[in-house]
Amino acid sequence: MHEPQIIDAPLLEAIGITKSFTQDGMASQALKGVSLSVAQGEFVSIVGRSGSGKSTFVSVLSTLLMPDAGQVNYNGKDLVRATEAEINAIRHGDFAVIFQFHYLLPYLTALENTLLPFMRSLKPVTRAQKTRAMECLARVGLADKAHRLPGQLSGGEQQRVAIARALVKEARVLFADEPTGSLDSATGATVMELLGQINTEGLAVVMVTHNEEYARLAHRLVRMEDGLVV
């Protein structure tokens, strides 16, 4: 296991999160009062069977989904009650998310996809930001493929571009929802190695996975079942 410096004070804390969905007229409660705290530099794995609520939970933690009740405290602020502008600022600066599917923009090159967080306005991307993006691509081993479109890259390479895009912002928390789910085992291992390296540099990682082997690489393993942490 990697040896990051973990600071005990919670960086991100979820308290009593509940979330319900209605499908075909049937209400189901995905989260039934889940609590979790993540310290700065900590690597937390969330495992559980399909439908246990782990993806819903990480979506709530990463502000992509609002809970019905509960609190998500980050840096002393309850994100559930934050304004949209505050949420946008946190999504842009502090949180980074990677998904099972890379979700790259197919018409932008690997470099441009990596620079995407800096393309939110009419302000042009700076030379420093480009240099940073190239460094991130180099870090995931794709410096030589920076000008290729996603369609010209393999699945593993595309996922690595997504990781580079997450890294470029210098976020404090990385949420990874099944990052190896669509990759073969060799590529999956490479991606996990990358996440481990990133974590050693002080970035907190919250990862959802089915893979117990990968889950055990984390500092802490949280198991979910039926919308609860068990």
Binding site: S55, S59, N88, I90, L108, E112, S121, K123
Partner: protein
């Protein structure tokens, strides 16, 4: 690289869709621009033709008259006195009206009665430069216009408009093929005398020939030219230079009336009349309604036609943009989710879709305007009216067209863009 890169790259990636939208809008703009140019040329040509029929506004002093009739026998109008207008002042005031640019010719007239070989005849004083503009159908059958050299006369006749440009009421002049025109010998006008142009009927009736002398009081006029028949009142009068007639008749600087030819495709004739009335209080102003109304009907018809076609084309194009963008929003839900997860605000997502539509509009505006400009030349050639007017290229219109198209396509994409901005990352990305 900035937010526009996302919009433009997507437009490039979906080039078939972009090209289709571009094509529809460009075709729309081509139609509108070409129709507009062609109608302008046709309108200008119409104006020119109508102007060649004469003035459409008559400015004269108010006169007191009495219509005398008794027992069903009309004796005509009795004029109490003859009033004159001050030529310089009247012309200056007409030239000073706000709609001056719509006034093409100001032609003052002084009418003096004379007796030649026992017959009464009117000598009309005119400014020949203005008069020739007003009456493009005038042709000199013999001799020259007063003040014109034989060479100038020959050149003018060579450049004279073909017969189909002459007014319908003007009969073809006998032996008057302008292409065959040759310089005629100049008639010598002795010192102290002035030149005179005779109407065809007047010349025949009075037995006037080139060089004939027409006395007016103690002054002498020499016939230097005879007009070809025009079918108008000009056939029955003698025409002299205004200054000469004013001197000879003892009315220096005075005129009886002023004819004004107004171009009215861009303004109602009533406005010009009102402005002239305001500039010349106490003066009688009459409009030749028939001509004016005919002009207005023609111009309005073309304008309405263009407006209708333009609206249909633009509505079709806008619907296409709207539908296309709406389907793009559904296709690009995941992209939108990613952008939102990276901290893009709703406004940023909204502007990506608007910018994409605006880019199509901007390009269609440029391409369509340029194509429309060149297509209009082709249409004019097919209609055989290239010479009816000029088609100046106006870069400002090009920019305005592109801008208007960009605004229109942006407006058409408002609803899809608003829908896109409303997409939450959870509904696009989260697998629950």
């Amino acid at each position: 690289m900035n937010i526009l890169t996302i919009a433009l790259r997507n437009a490039r990636k979906k080039w078939v869709r972009t090209l289709l939208l571009l094509l529809v809008f460009s075709l729309g703009v081509v139609s509108i621009v070409a129709l507009s140019f062609v109608s302008r040329v046709v309108g200008d040509g119409l104006e020119k033709k109508l102007v060649s029929y004469g003035a459409n506004i008559l400015v004269s002093p108010k006169s007191e008259k009495l219509t005398v009739s008794y027992g069903g026998f009309a004796l005509g109008d009795m004029l109490f006195d003859v009033s004159y207008l001050d030529e310089a002042d009247t012309v200056k005031r007409i030239e000073g009206i706000e709609l001056r640019k719509n006034v093409s010719v100001i032609a003052p007239k002084l009418v003096v009665m004379d007796h030649v070989q026992g017959a009464a005849v009117a000598i009309v004083g005119v400014r020949f430069e203005q008069e020739k503009l007003l009456k493009g159908f005038w042709m000199v059958e013999q001799g020259t216009f007063p003040g014109e050299t034989p060479e100038q006369a020959a050149a003018r006749q060579a450049m004279a408009a073909p017969m189909h440009d002459a007014p319908a009421h003007a009969p073809a002049p006998k032996d008057a093929d302008p292409k065959d025109a040759k310089p005629t010998a100049a008639v010598h006008v002795p010192a102290g005398a002035d030149a005179l142009l005779a109407g065809s009927a007047a010349a025949e009736k009075l037995g006037l020939k080139l060089g004939s002398v027409v006395p007016l009081d103690r002054h002498k006029f020499v016939v230097t030219g005879i007009l070809a028949p025009t079918g108008s009142e000009d056939d029955n009068v003698l025409l002299a230079d205004m200054d000469a007639l004013q001197r000879a008749s003892g009315h220096p600087g005075k005129v009886n009336f002023v004819e004004v030819a107004a171009l009215c495709s861009g303004c109602p004739i009533d406005d010009i009349v009102n402005q002239i009335s305001a500039a010349l209080p106490g003066v009688e102003i009459k409009t030749l309604r028939g001509i004016v109304e005919q002009r207005m009907v023609s111009v309005h018809f073309v304008k309405k036609l263009i407006l209708s076609v333009s609206l249909v084309i633009l509505l079709t194009g806008c619907s296409m943009v709207g539908i296309s963008m709406l389907s793009a929003v559904n296709e690009r839900k995941k992209e939108i989710g990613i952008l939102r997860s990276l901290g893009f605000s709703r406004r940023a997502v909204f502007s990506i879709f608007c910018a994409e539509a605006a880019a199509v509009g901007l390009l269609a505006g440029f391409v369509g305007y340029l194509a429309g400009y060149f297509v209009s030349f082709r249409i004019l050639a097919v209609l055989e009216i290239e010479g009816a007017g000029s088609l100046p290229f106006e870069p400002l219109h090009l920019a305005a067209t592109a801008l208007v198209l960009a605004i229109l396509t942006s407006l058409a994409s408002l609803f899809p863009a608003w829908k896109a901005a409303g997409i939450e990352p959870s509904e696009a990305l989260v697998t629950l």
